[in-house]
């Protein structure tokens, strides 16, 4: 009889006691929305498109985010500026499909697409969860401040000719006979 009480009842009493004592612990939840929680910078929330330190669009429309996306919710079309830069003619994210996995950010070779700590994206109408480039593109560099893809890439753009990227030699003169 005593063994039965010890095996069943006592464990329940101990559990109840434990729950009761939690009343006096520090709270993990906050009174949202009156009080805003602290969001870590690497939290994977709303997706943005950032600009490089010179203020130009970072996205070069390489399509790697779109192909990495497991729910295929990113669609874009490559265009080319007069100055030779590639850019997305349109860039669309269907947030009603997005699972905030962050694969797009990992795939992005230019640090253009980034996930931010903002999670307040609820809408009454699902159609409003389709975001276009105008909605996604911010004015700053986001989390990564210094990177500018075109300073590294070999492609020529206005203001940066051949041989002017980082770690590049001057263009070869093919008519020269010098070794």
């Amino acid at each position: 009889m005593f063994t039965l009480i010890k095996d069943t009842l006592l464990s329940q009493v101990v559990t109840l006691w434990g729950v009761f004592m939690k009343l006096f612990d520090k709270k993990d939840t906050v009174e949202y929305p009156d009080e805003q929680p602290y969001m870590f910078p690497r939290w994977r929330g709303r997706i943005i498109l950032s600009r490089d330190p010179d203020g130009e669009e970072r996205c070069v429309a390489c399509n790697l985010c779109a192909v990495a996306c497991p729910v295929d919710c990113i669609a874009l079309q490559k265009g080319e500026m007069e100055d030779g830069r590639w850019y997305p003619e349109f860039f669309r994210i269907n947030f009603s499909r997005c699972i905030m996995c962050g694969f797009c950010e990992e795939a992005c070779p230019t640090n253009a697409i980034q996930l931010t700590p903002d999670f307040e994206m609820a809408e009454y109408v699902r159609q409003d969860m389709v975001w276009e480039k105008e909605d996604l593109l911010i004015d700053g560099t986001g989390k990564y401040h210094d990177y500018n893809f075109y300073r590294v890439a070999g492609m020529e753009i206005a203001g940066k000719g051949k041989g002017e990227a980082q770690n590049e030699a001057k263009p070869v003169d093919v008519r020269s006979l010098m070794p």
Partner: protein, 906 residues
């Protein structure tokens, strides 16, 4: 067969090949750059290093280049050996030292052989921290982008462009790590095959410019196996679609037809499909007002025309199904050819000759094997370019023979070229003007059509005493006859090439006579390659009655014998004199024209019915050999256009193909082209979209976030989605090839039963016509054209960029097209007071062309290239050109690629 041991496993291989080729044939992964299945080995890139062992006891081994080592019996190699792997990793590390940080903005990314090989070799980090060498790029014309920084100096581009395709304006320049592949100065790449550089270059130095303007990664393109509708060769292609527009065309391997290469007309001449001027709705013209018609109204109209005995005019650029559907609507007796009468007469003769046992129609692969060729009057570079590329390979058979005699393997490309120097198999060309093949020809004879036929008939008479006797020729021409006869008589695989493009039936008759004379002598079927102008000229002719020419149809209309006509995808103003067409069409009470773009004929129509382009429907086409090939639908047409066969007959293409093979004479093998769904895994469809297709849930989310059901394709074994079992090991309906670790087009080796062999489960098409009849020599009929004093005998030139009706609407092609031009000899030009580039009045009837003085034109003859502005069929056979004050076409001769442009003072 030889036995070689690769990594301890024994394989049966072909000892005539090199180890790299045989490793790939066995499905093994071995990285390479400079080797190409069609161009042999040069051992330039050092990437395919493997360890070779003397015998079983040899544990040390030595590193060799697999592409430079014969796969002889008893060879023991290791691909997996640590030292070999290390060597390959180091080699690619050196190749990549100056490769720019460009992949995200490179059109090759995602289908890049360099990316694949880098990954395969295990290189991943640039340890060299010094500067990268850079290069300036060049402007290379409307087709190709140049980005020299990306070059790894494998030399494939110049080996293709110069050595394989005979180009002269792309070369390797400078030395050591400065080596540069480009032109001597900025300018348009001249070769008609320049587009293949995009596929030959293992990285992104040469990329597709037209594609770049509407760029999509390879994995995002919806593709299906298709057939090029640009000429009568029927090259296999892979068109790719994204967001509702057609983006690009690439080569699709077919061992018998195009192999690895297609021409630039086929690659760049497609964007009329996306044109804003496409016909979108069925329209009735009532009292000068356009009224839209519903599908039912069109069906009622067609039923009414059928009951009233309307005639139908077919089209050589439409599929068998479309032509058959029209034929079954109007009845065989009311179905007329849509070809010009002179061209159609030749087409009829070609069909008859295709039933003759004495000849055989060589495929492109067989043309490459010919060891003596006679081309009669057909400018194949401009009418069937892929044949010209094959003829270029045929002259190398002498080199292969020399190599074999000297125990040099044929794949040792540099050694074979060094050995052969300028030794070539004979290629004799009879033409009205200098052609683009002249640089490899042994004999080039520029003569009038009449003399060309006379020379060819004299060759026939010389070869066989049974051939019709010919009148004696001038000693000069007779000398040519002797040489050509000697070449052909001494050849093991002689080939005669001619065609219908000029509408000269005597040339084709003469070609048949030469082939028959050879057959008399050799007792084997002789290769007789007769090309035509359009994709389905051959198929249309098979559906026609002999007497139903276009002239007869126009006659009936203008005489009022019939009042109603249906014209299928055909601009009749390109086929007959404008006066004759006007007389006929103005007389018609009811004229229904089905087409995809507005033409002068649709402008005359009472009812215009919009049809789909080649990539928007499934259809079969018959090429110059009589080979029927199936072209699948790539994407859906988003507006009111339907396939012509659907308007005219029924919506089930399979049923039409089935019916056509039962009802139409000669088409009985057509239905065997249709794949059965049961041949695929679990009876599942094959997806048109790749397994990496992106953006499905976002591409039309701006219109409606609730995604519609994927469009269904009930008639085809392909699906308009990612669903189904992709063609990973089964090439029976292979669109874009892909294999694990092989994202580029080089992955095709994984689908071949051996390198350069047939595709596994692949379809090379069906030869429809059986050769059962035995024919006789065709008597030449000389109808000498009367040339008045001061007049010039007229021949016709065609242009690869411009002569084909549909591709001439493509933006990239238009940038290479010229306006009408008249080729003249310098003597005639100076006599007529015409200088280079002058506007020339052709016959005082308002037709204007630009004068193009060519040093090798024969005096007294001229050759005319026309575009739609000239009423060609109203011109007489001899013209008296004069300098015109009026300005002609605004396009100058600058873009014209000819070898013998006359420059005063030289």
């Amino acid at each position: 067969m030889a036995k070689v041991v690769i990594d301890g496993k024994e394989y049966e291989v072909n000892p005539d090949n090199n180890l790299l080729q045989e490793c790939l044939s066995q499905g093994l992964d071995l990285p390479y750059f400079c080797w190409h299945p069609c161009m042999g080995s040069v051992g330039a890139c050092r990437q395919c290093a493997v360890k070779q062992y003397r015998d079983e006891d040899d544990k040390e081994g030595m590193l060799v280049m697999a592409c430079m080592t014969p796969a002889s019996d008893g060879t023991r190699i290791s691909i997996e050996d640590e030292q070999a792997k290390d060597m390959r990793e180091r080699v690619i590390e050196s190749l990549m030292i100056s490769h720019p940080h460009d992949c995200p903005v490179c059109e090759e990314g995602g289908e890049c052989h360099l990316q694949d090989m880098t990954l395969m070799s295990g290189h991943n980090y640039r340890r060299y921290d010094k500067q990268k060498r850079t290069h300036h790029n060049q402007y290379l014309g409307p087709f190709i982008n140049h980005e020299m920084n990306r070059c790894i100096a494998c030399y494939r581009c110049v080996r293709f462009y110069d050595d394989y395709a005979g180009g002269t304006d792309l070369a390797a320049q400078a030395s050591h790590h400065h080596v540069y592949f480009g032109r001597h100065e900025d300018g348009v790449l001249e070769s008609e095959f320049s587009g293949n550089l995009v596929e030959v270059c293992p990285t992104g130095v040469f990329t597709d410019k037209a594609f770049s303007e509407n760029y999509t990664r390879k994995w995002d393109l919806q593709t299906a196996p298709s057939v090029c509708a640009g000429c009568s060769v029927g090259c296999n292609t892979t068109p790719g679609e994204r967001y509702g527009t057609l983006r690009r065309i690439t080569n699709r391997y077919n061992s018998e037809v195009n192999g690895y290469f297609i021409c630039d007309r086929g690659r760049f001449g497609f964007d009329y499909v996306n044109s804003d001027s496409r016909l979108r709705r069925a329209v009735a013209q009532v009292n000068d007002e356009a009224a839209e018609m519903s599908d039912e109204q069109v069906a009622d109209l067609l039923a009414e025309l059928k009951s009233e005995g309307a005639i139908g005019i077919g089209s050589p650029r439409s599929s068998n199904e479309a032509n058959y559907a029209l034929r079954s609507l109007v009845g065989e007796e009311n179905f007329y050819s849509g070809m010009a009468d002179d061209e159609r007469a030749v087409s009829r003769l070609i069909l008859e000759l295709s039933r003759d046992k004495a000849f055989h129609s060589p495929s492109i692969r067989e043309i490459e094997k010919a060891d003596a060729v006679l081309v009669i009057g057909e400018d194949v570079t401009n009418t069937a370019a892929r044949v010209a590329l094959a003829l270029r390979q045929s002259v190398r058979n002498k080199a292969s023979q020399l190599a074999t005699d000297n125990n040099i393997p044929v794949w040792q490309d540099a050694a074979v070229r060094e050995l052969a120097q300028h030794e070539r198999s004979p290629l004799s060309i009879l033409s009205a003007y200098a052609t683009r093949l002249d640089d490899v020809a042994s004999e080039v004879i520029v003569e009038s059509y009449e003399n060309q036929a006379a020379i060819a008939n004299a060759v026939a008479a010389r070869l066989s005493s049974n051939a019709p006797a010919t009148a004696p020729l001038s000693p000069e021409l007779q000398a040519h006859v002797d040489v050509i006869s000697e070449h052909l008589a001494g050849a093991r695989r002689p080939l005669i090439v001619s065609g219908s493009s000029n509408g000269q039936i005597e040339l084709v008759k003469a070609a048949a006579n030469v082939a028959r004379a050879l057959q008399d002598k050799n007792e084997v079927a002789i290769g007789l390659c007769l090309v035509q102008r359009e994709a389905n000229s051959f198929g249309l002719e098979m559906l026609l009655r002999a007497e139903n020419g276009l002239g007869a149809a126009l006659d009936k209309l203008s005489k009022g014998e019939v009042k109603k006509a249906i014209v299928l995808e055909n601009d009749l103003y390109r086929r007959a004199s404008h006066a004759a067409v006007d007389a006929a069409l103005d007389n018609a009470e009811s004229l229904v024209v089905l087409d995809l773009l507005p033409t002068r004929t649709t402008a005359k129509a009472t009812h215009v019915v919009p049809t789909t382009a080649f990539s928007e429907h499934e259809a079969t086409y018959v090429n110059y050999e009589g080979r029927a090939q199936l072209s699948y639908q790539v994407h859906q047409c988003k507006f009111g256009a339907q396939p012509a066969w659907q308007w005219l007959h029924s919506s089930d293409v399979n049923a039409i193909v089935q019916e056509c093979s039962e009802e139409a004479k000669g088409f009985d093998k057509l239905s065997t082209l249709l794949p059965g769904i049961d041949q695929f895994v679990a009876g599942m469809k094959v997806p048109r979209q790749t397994h990496r297709y992106s953006g499905r849930t976002a591409e039309i989310a701006n219109l409606n976030v609730h995604e519609p059901k994927q469009p269904q394709d009930n008639n085809s074994v392909l699906s308009f989605s990612m669903e189904g079992i992709p063609a990973l090991k089964d090439a029976s309906v292979l669109g874009a090839s892909w294999s694990p670790s092989w994202n580029s087009n080089q992955s095709i080796s994984k689908f071949q039963d051996e390198i350069n062999g047939e595709l596994k489960q692949g379809d090379t098409g069906r030869l429809l016509v059986e050769r059962t009849e035995s024919g006789a020599y065709l008597m030449p009929e000389t109808d000498t054209v009367q040339v008045a004093e001061g007049q010039l005998l007229l021949a016709r030139s065609l242009q690869i960029f411009g002569s084909d009706e549909l591709s001439a609407h493509a933006t990239a092609i238009q940038q290479r097209a010229t306006g009408p031009y008249l080729s003249l000899s310098p003597e005639d030009a100076s006599r007529l007071g015409i200088s280079q580039g002058d506007a020339v009045s052709l016959n005082g009837n308002g037709a204007i062309a630009t004068a193009c003085i060519r040093s090798r034109m024969k005096t007294g003859t001229a050759s005319l290239y026309v575009d739609d502005s000239i009423d060609y069929y109203a011109l007489p056979a001899a013209i008296g050109p004069s300098k015109s004050e009026q300005q002609g076409s605004d396009r100058s001769l600058d873009g014209l690629i000819i070898s013998d442009r006359y420059e005063e003072g030289y």
